[in-house]
């Protein structure tokens, strides 16, 4: 038996690492990976609560979160490719204009 709070702490650690990466990283691809890390942390807490309350709809919500994350990463990576094509850089400090 593992206390539910351990799962929640693990998911909190993952989310905190994602937030830290989002703040300190300057490579746009790594920032994107930090967002995926945050989504994974949230998914873990969804599944842990679903197991706690024997509610299967938690798993269905995790499925939806994964679908949205997949769509988001496809569009986001396409945007990264478009930005790189015009700016020739992946550093977010050098991408400071909305204009292409």
């Amino acid at each position: 038996m593992v206390p539910l709070s351990y799962y929640l702490v693990l998911s909190g650690i993952l989310f905190a690492c994602g937030v830290t990466g989002f703040l300190i990283k300057r490579n746009i691809i790594t920032i994107f990976m930090s967002i995926e890390l945050m989504l994974n942390g949230v998914n873990l807490s969804f599944v842990a609560f679903a197991a706690q309350w024997h509610a299967l709809s938690g798993q269905v919500f995790v499925f939806f979160v994964m679908v949205v994350a997949a769509a988001e990463s496809a569009v986001g990576l396409a945007i990264i490719i478009a930005v790189y094509r015009t700016r020739e850089t992946l550093n977010v400090d050098r991408v400071n204009l909305l204009k292409l």
Binding site: Y7, A16, R26, N27, I29, Q59, F63, V67, A69
Partner: protein, 177 residues
């Protein structure tokens, strides 16, 4: 007892991968440590009894999404990131802030919450039941996500295509038609 040991081993691997993602400076190393995080998270899902989510985690996240990431890193020939003044300021304020916040949350969760224990395979749902839920109770959200994925595919193709490629193809269509 065994449950706790397996949980802590894979939880530590998971947390170590997440920290390694932050420490590494080359994006490909970060991507590989993200794969480690997702793989060990799949084991945690299996411990909770969520076989469907574990399988989808490995197939969609560790498979499809990470391949996409690695493709883009290779395609753009991304090198090591250079630290700028802004990133040092972010590090100075971001790391202590996040540390304080996460320690606070962990303390509240461990000390104050009256939540109980979770047994091995606590979730009662085999994939069959989830399929029933997905195509019966959640049919409308499921169909809406299919529209979302379709739009995402079109958006990705339009955004990533070479500028001018769309115009050229429409012009050639006109000529042919």
């Amino acid at each position: 007892m065994l449950h706790l040991i397996v949980f802590s081993v894979f939880g530590l691997v998971c947390a170590a991968g997440a920290v390694n993602l932050l420490v590494q400076r080359h994006p490909i190393n970060s991507a590989l440590s993200l794969v480690v995080v997702m793989g060990s998270l799949a084991v945690e899902y299996l411990l909770l009894g969520a076989e469907f989510v574990a399988a989808v985690q490995v197939i969609v996240y560790a498979g499809a999404i990470m391949v996409l990431f690695v493709f883009v890193i290779m395609l753009l020939n991304a090198g090591e990131e250079d630290r700028t003044k802004g990133s040092r300021v972010a590090m100075l304020f971001g790391i202590p802030g996040v540390l304080i916040g996460s320690v606070l949350v962990a303390w509240v969760l461990l000390e104050r919450s009256g939540t109980g224990n979770v047994a091995v395979g606590a979730l009662p749902g085999p994939p069959k039941v989830i399929g029933w839920l997905l195509f019966h109770d959640f049919l409308l959200p499921f169909e809406v996500t299919s529209v979302l994925v379709l739009i995402a595919i079109m958006g990705a193709v339009v955004l990533a295509s070479h500028p001018g490629a769309v115009q050229q193809s429409t012009q050639s269509d006109k000529r042919e038609g």
